[in-house]
Amino acid sequence: MNPDLGKYQERAQKYWFMDGMAEIGFGLICIMLATLFIVENSFEQTPIRDLSFFILAVLGALVVRWIIQKIKEHSTYPRTGYISYKKGKANQKIVLIAIAFTAIIFIIQLYMILTDSIHIVAGPLIAGFIFAFIFSLFAYRSLVYRFYLFALLTLLFGGILSLSGIGDLIGAALLAALAGVTLIASGGITRWTFLQHNPLPGGNDGS
């Protein structure tokens, strides 16, 4: 009888997350965001401040992604091999969901501005929604189900921080820092286990 082929397909889908580097990378991005939120909080709100923050966040995320890719090339792929993923329908679906989600967040913020309810401390809750959404996408894409737990926790903490009235940016910073530390710890354990179980093989790919 032939092997359970679904198991091999599932494992290939999970592969990007198997060495823990993706989690560590996203954790670093969260810590960077937390730092930026705190720095942003000490400046007066202007469009230039917000734009600078956005550009720094995007640049930081790109740099982290580049570093993660380099570490994978030097440490992960020589141990367990390389996979590249399809950029087809599955990704298009995820992009569409992400666009819809971003639109919903913008509509909520616009509604708050128009109804003059911007004074409500909703920053941590919105940040919680965004983190929960990103974690859910990770879980859906990678079939690594602990990301659903992270999604639930960030949503919960976002709600608690909003209710505590701690402040928009400080609350969002705290939430990002918590998410970052959790991800780095979880990714660190995954990474350590991965390295223990997958020593470097000798020679090249042998083909």
Binding site: N2, P3, A12
Partner: protein, 105 residues
């Protein structure tokens, strides 16, 4: 009925039905491409055996093999072709039909 069901199994593509080759195609159906090392770990074959299986799949037009380099390290990338995708889907459907037919009997 039972005989027809068994016959449906004998119609499966023998090239794909070999366990190691079906694993290779299962992996490649889920990704854009995979390298030799990844496939070797999944199939648990020796380098020589894996090369033979990959060559057979390439000859049948089910996969494409690209030999390249990542830095100074040689890299063999395998990618499923459209023909391979169709053949593999057909194979999976045949297996599914056989299993459903068997449980109905």
């Amino acid at each position: 009925m039972m005989e027809a069901n068994l016959r449906s199994l004998t119609d499966v593509d023998r090239l794909i039905h070999e366990p190691s080759r079906s694993i290779i195609l299962a992996v490649l159906s889920a990704v854009e491409s995979a390298d030799f090392l990844y496939l070797q770990r999944e199939t648990e074959l020796t380098k020589g055996n894996l090369s033979v299986h990959l060559s057979k799949l390439e000859e049948a037009g089910f996969i494409e093999i690209e030999k390249t380099y990542r830095g100074k390290v040689p890299l063999t990338l395998c990618k499923m072709t459209e023909k391979g995708q169709e053949a593999f889907e057909k194979y999976l459907n045949q297996l599914k039909n056989f299993i459903e037919g068997s449980s109905a009997n």
